[in-house]
């Protein structure tokens, strides 16, 4: 009987959250009646929710709304965009990037791809430091570019306000989620097959699927919504806590981190080692072998903390009965 050495087991709980969020955002999976084309809740936005191109989703992708209200900011001097931004910043300040690893449907999808890759036995690409840093910057670049394209549209003096359409939703044109969820809906029969995807969406979907074959969380690394959250996740209430006095520098945390978040390993001064690329998936907390070294914490409370791996499951019982011979 093979036995496993395990630290904390947090992922199952996370999957419950992810499935719940997935089901909520794509309500029809649960057999819920469709919300209609213009659902009541459509004005509700969360840092990451269902893609706007999910026809029946109860809520709407924040990034869509952000682009939309920036591009149409002329009417209210960007007030609605700013209010939206403030709300999201507040949500991130409280929950940190748990929005990513615990709720985001697209992050969930990428994790499932990772599971599949592992199942098939394809090793993933280990990037060098330089490429990691480069990718990290791309997400901010996309964010800035989005603003640079949409805001001029919203400034009435420039007279561009009329140019809506593709240009007012620049990122949606290249966002792989659009293609992914459209086809996903078609497979579920929620969307007729006659709906055609633009070429650009096809291309980015293929790139997305392709990179998932050999990379962990490829889109999350460049996701502008992740970038926006990263700007404010540094001091969030839910955070990744490290007790540097207990760290042996074994580097397990960095090896298992699906986002290659260097800081969790490097940092030996600050207590909060999340922020930046950390999506608070707590993989590192599960794997860190030092008692109380890494934890997921909410304000002053430690939610879950690392511990040395122990034999779990049937193997543990066998070990008790027969000494160590398995």
């Amino acid at each position: 009987m093979s036995a496993d050495y395990k630290g904390r087991n947090i992922r199952p709980l996370r999957v419950v959250f992810q499935l719940g969020a997935f089901a909520f955002f794509i309500g029809q999976l649960l057999g819920l009646p469709p919300f209609g084309t213009e659902p009541v809740l459509r004005r509700v936005f969360l840092p990451n929710a269902a893609c706007r191109y999910m026809n029946t989703a109860p809520t709407s992708c924040f990034y869509y709304q952000l682009q939309d209200s920036l591009a149409h900011g002329a009417s209210d001097l960007f007030a609605s965009a700013l209010i939206m931004l403030l709300v999201v910043i507040l949500l991130v300040l409280v929950l940190g990037r748990t929005w990513c690893s615990w709720l985001c449907p697209f992050g969930f999808v990428q994790e499932l791809f990772s599971d599949l890759r592992e199942l098939v036995g394809i090793p993933f690409l280990r990037m060098g430091f330089a490429s990691r840093v480069l990718l990290r910057r791309v997400k901010y670049a996309i964010l800035i570019l989005t603003v640079l394209i949409t805001v001029p549209l919203g400034i009435s003096a420039l007279g561009l306000a009329g140019c809506t359409g593709a240009l007012s939703l620049p990122f949606c044109q290249v966002c792989p989620a659009k293609g992914f969820f459209t086809i996903f809906q078609q497979i579920l029969g929620l969307e007729p097959w006659s709906t055609r995807l633009p070429l650009l969406a096809w291309a980015s979907l293929l790139i997305f699927l392709g990179t998932n074959v050999f990379m962990r969380m490829p889109f999350c690394r460049i996701c502008p919504m992740g970038g926006l959250m990263a700007l404010f996740a540094g001091g969030s209430m839910i955070y990744l806590k490290k007790d540097p006095d207990r760290c042996t520098k074994c580097r397990i945390c960095l090896r298992v981190c699906p986002m290659d978040h260097d800081r969790v390993y490097e940092e030996m001064g600050r207590i909060d080692v999340g922020g930046e690329d950390c999506t608070l998936c707590a993989r590192c907390v599960e794997m860190c072998p030092e008692e109380g070294c890494l934890s997921l914490a909410a304000g002053p409370f430690v939610l879950v903390t690392s511990r040395p791996p122990k034999k779990v499951g049937l193997g543990r019982i066998f070990q008790r009965i027969r000494g160590n011979d398995r």
Binding site: Y5, I122, T248, K249, C250, P309, K311
Partner: protein
């Protein structure tokens, strides 16, 4: 290249270089040393009975040697290592056995001194070389391949010289942990070692074999952690020397059996504590031992400390707790993922002074001081061990600001310095007690 076809580098005529008389003397003295240390350690008033198993494993020409000889007769291969950074998991997964070659025998230093004439070189390096050259220790005859990472200068050159006697596989160890190429280089070295071991035994190492070994070693660590719990109380039931002996035996013994025996030992320690049988004096000074490796039977320093009213309750030694800390944590179970997990475990958490900047060592010392309630640190370096000598300065400074006194000792492989060391240790222990 096999060693037979390779021109010797340090010695032209191996046969007859050392006289029969010298070979005999080295063997005899070594055996005597092992017997003496065993007697000393087992004559303590309070000692768990289960310890005698570990005495056997470590004994010069003891039952473990006989067992391995039999294993070799059946066509088995034995790999000798000279460092904690060699993954035994791979050796066992290849169907070979692994033993630690570093030598703690004083008499073996002399042949090496004669050949090299370097009086300042680390005595452990010289003893290991001497032992191999004159075949002073029966375990040296068992070894088919020596595997060692190029850690300190002494060990690196030792590996080179040893090639005149035995096949050696030297691993290119990156010594700057913070570099970006570091993990790649070391992973490649571990993968290279795997293929070398496969060639040695003619058996390809499968993922399942490795994972099985990883679990065996992880469960060994789990039990050793239980043992360490018995060193945290106000009084302890196991001496520092015995705990070190147990840890070192893990590198000689079959790990499955070792784990079982340690589990028995832990049960006995439980019982001893319930019965109020403790080692060391009541109120002995709680000492953390750190510094250069102390290989059995060179237990001079710990035995002096524990005879002078100190109790060694923990250590930061590659011949002690470091042998049994830091589990391999598997995440990805692709072959690459498994190899990465092994490579990182045998590299990143290792606090060998050959690394720079090596801040993890001081962190570990401080961590242990807290966890075990140590009152003082005895830092020992072998004569000629520059790396430990240099780190001692740094560590002493750091400990000073933490309010922990440190005694810095230097020792050779002979009995000449015993009295001088004893005087200093006694004064240190007194000082620690007076501080209470």
């Amino acid at each position: 290249m096999k060693k037979e076809d390779r021109p010797a580098r340090y010695i032209k005529e191996r046969k007859g270089y050392f006289s029969e008389a010298q070979v005999d003397r080295t063997k005899k003295e070594s055996k005597k040393m092992s017997q003496r240390i065993r007697k000393e350690m087992s004559s303590k008033k309070v000692r768990a009975k289960a310890m005698s198993y570990f005495d056997d494993v470590m004994e010069y020409g003891g039952p473990r040697v006989a067992e391995l000889e039999k294993f070799k007769k059946g066509g088995g291969k034995v790999v000798g290592t000279m460092c904690v950074m060699v993954p035994s998991e791979l050796t066992y997964a290849a169907g070979a056995r692994s033993i630690r070659l570093c030598s703690g025998y004083y008499e073996c230093v002399h042949p090496a001194n004669e050949l090299l004439g370097d009086a300042g070189l680390c005595p452990m390096v010289k003893s290991t070389l001497g032992s191999e050259m004159v075949g002073a220790n029966p375990i040296t005859d068992l070894v088919d391949l020596v595997v060692t990472p190029a850690t300190c200068d002494g060990k690196m050159k030792l590996a080179e010289i040893l090639e005149d006697w035995v096949d050696v596989h030297i691993m290119n160890l990156p010594r700057v942990k913070t570099g970006d190429t570091t993990s790649k280089t070391w992973l490649a070295e571990i993968e290279f070692l795997k293929s070398r071991l496969e060639a040695l035994t003619g058996r390809s190492i499968g993922k399942k074999d490795i994972i099985e070994q990883i679990e065996l070693y992880n469960s060994a660590q789990e039990v050793y952690r239980d043992l360490l719990e018995h060193r945290k109380g106000r009084r302890v039931s196991i001496t520092g020397q015995d705990a070190m002996l147990v840890a070192q035996a893990s590198q000689m013994d079959d790990v499955r059996r070792w784990t079982k025996k340690v589990r028995e030992l832990v049960l006995e320690l439980d019982m001893m504590e319930r019965e109020g049988r403790f080692v060391g004096e009541e109120g002995g000074a709680r000492i953390l031992l750190a510094g250069s490796p102390m290989i059995y039977p060179n237990f001079k320093i710990p035995s002096i400390v524990e005879d002078s009213g100190g109790t060694i309750i923990t250590d930061e030694l590659c011949t002690g707790i470091r042998l049994m800390s830091d589990p391999i944590v598997l995440e990805s179970r692709t072959m690459r993922g498994v190899m990465e997990a092994i490579a990182e475990k045998y590299f990143y958490p290792c606090s060998c002074p050959c690394f720079t900047p090596n801040d993890e060592r001081i962190n570990r010392i401080k961590m242990s001081i807290k966890a075990f309630g140590a009152e003082g640190v005895v830092f020992h370096s072998l004569r000629g061990c520059h790396l430990n000598n240099l780190e001692a300065t740094k560590i002493e400074l750091e400990l000073k600001s933490a309010g922990i006194p440190m005694l810095k000792l230097e020792s050779e492989y002979d009995e000449g310095d015993v009295e001088q060391v004893r005087t200093r240790v006694e004064a240190f222990v007194e000082m620690l007690r007076a501080r209470r």
